[in-house]
Symmetry: C2
Subunit: 328 residues, 2 copies
């Protein structure tokens, strides 16, 4: 019998879950829950009902795992701990500094209800975190490096769009090649913020706006841009729509470390992602961890989990025999 | 109290375990077991006793985990299932085709004795296997690629040394840059054996040997060389000692896959290792999994395990709170 799953929300990430569930025949999408009027939501999958999120508790026996596809700023801190009272749940909570608090809240809900809640799945946190953990455990005498990009930063794009005179804007975070090369060579460089990433902004200005002033405001914006080498390129609305509507992203995690009685040997571990669609890849990770959440509940291993707590075998639709024979 | 560990064997891998245990203060090396006369073994660590492997069973209460550092061809198939009757054990068994059989044998011993046995830890099998499993679970619609090198292949070096007229020889497996680039670009190429790797042989010939015949014999050797573009370079014994006594290795694991309602988005996951010392890196992986083996025994989770069965958190000396705060 397929694992019966639902989706809360219907933004980019939720649609990614919807599309990627089609590649996982052991799961069946049984419903989508929305805060909007359900009749206003047009899904991509025929026959899947759309419900009001207000009715969700009444459906608690109809779903094995619920994908919570809200935002990390305000949605997930409330939603995940609430829905973990009724369902096995999974989220992509990515505010690193608030993970300990989110974990504690969700753990309390899930344990009280004998449910499993997986938080902070995706690629960072998620696949990148796994690489950091494995690599630190294996090379305790070493240095970590994480680079992001080339890809779209939603937060920085939002910041650009709040600048007076800006009609539309998109920001790409770009890792600096020289920094990547230095890390890759095992030189263990000490890198400043400015040496690691540059920021490329593409801006559509309002008619008659002062472009020099817009560029200055962006480049001097504290936290977001002032510590970086930032470029601002003004483009037309047409060009923006044509060339800058993608959601590509990616990045690199390195650990370089030394072994030997005299630390005479160098080792470099590198993990990288090149993603055409950030939300679809994140959704793909969520789906693998939803499978694990279901299996953990079957085993009675309740509570809040992160990618660190979950044995890799639980992610695969294949049996233990199959993965040992074909992937080990 | 530190985890009390022992080492069976004293070759390159065992010495790697000995050196890397120094970077793991939660473990204490309590003894080395050898098939040789113990008085003939000179270790690098003062105060650590060397015992005859014949006395090992009498010490079964003095060790929490035993590193079994034998070879995969004949040692480990016998040793791991035998010592799992008395100790939590870990090995680096790397004969991929025989893993299912080894797993079954070791599992029976370990379960009967309430012990934990981790087999096939290292980097391939090991870290590469983990990358394959995670990446397959996340991108079910995709292709896998594994490349090895540049690095020393022990098996191929042995094959060279068996050729008549060869005094000494070393073989490097080298991934083909054009193949790496094609995979990295997301083109999902179909690659033949010859297109993926070349083989570089450095040979010291016996005085008066027929070098042309040696080169021909190597290049036409079935299984080992005939399917590859192979180069043979004759060098002096001095040059061999100076430039070809290292144990460097490494490689690349890729998965490229497609997402989207129409599979319109491409993703590439890449994991790579550049290792100055193959045995020291393998030893470092074994140490992290020895920690996990000890913890699994404490939890009563007995039997044979591979890297697929072990939650990443169990590898780290840090607490759950610490890894969530710093590595997630």
């Amino acid at each position: 019998m397929a694992i019966r799953v639902g989706i809360i929300g219907y933004g980019n990430l939720a649609r990614g879950v919807e599309s990627e569930l089609r590649k996982n025949p052991d799961m069946e999408l049984k419903g989508i829950f929305t805060r909007r009027d359900p009749s206003s939501v047009k899904t991509h999958t025929e026959g899947v009902p759309v419900y009001s999120v207000n009715d969700i508790v009444s459906k608690k026996d109809d779903f094995d795992v619920m994908f919570i596809c809200g935002g990390s700023a305000t949605d997930l801190p409330e939603q995940t701990k609430e829905y973990a009272k009724y369902f096995n749940v999974i989220d992509s909570f990515d505010t690193h500094a608030r993970i300990p608090e989110h974990f504690a809240n969700v753990d309390a809900s899930a344990k009280a209800a004998n449910k499993v809640a997986v938080i902070s799945a995706g690629w960072d946190p998620g696949m990148f975190s796994l690489t950091r953990l494995y690599s630190n455990a294996v090379l305790p005498n070493g240095n970590d490096y994480t680079f992001w990009g080339k890809g779209v930063s939603q937060g920085h794009s939002d910041a650009i769009r709040r600048v007076p005179g800006v009609k539309n804007g998109k920001q790409y975070t770009v890792p600096v090649d020289a920094a990547l090369d230095a890390v890759r060579s095992g030189k263990n460089p000490e890198l400043t913020t400015r040496q690691k990433h540059t920021r490329e902004c593409f801006v559509v200005a309002e008619e008659g706006a002062d472009k020099a002033q817009i560029e200055k405001t962006i480049k001097e914006m504290p936290n977001y841009f002032s510590d970086y080498d930032t470029t601002v390129t003004f483009i037309t609305e047409e060009e923006f729509k044509k060339n800058h509507s993608g959601m590509n992203h990616g990045g690199f995690v390195f650990r370089s470390g030394k072994t030997g009685f005299n630390n005479e040997n160098d080792h470099v571990i590198e993990y990288s992602l090149k993603l055409d669609s950030n939300p679809e890849f994140t959704a793909s990770v969520l789906i693998a961890y939803a499978r694990a959440a279901y299996r953990l509940e079957q085993k009675g291993d309740y509570g809040c989990k992160t990618v660190f707590d979950i044995a890799p075998a639980l992610l695969s639709p294949l049996s233990g025999e199959e993965i040992r024979a074909h992937l080990l």
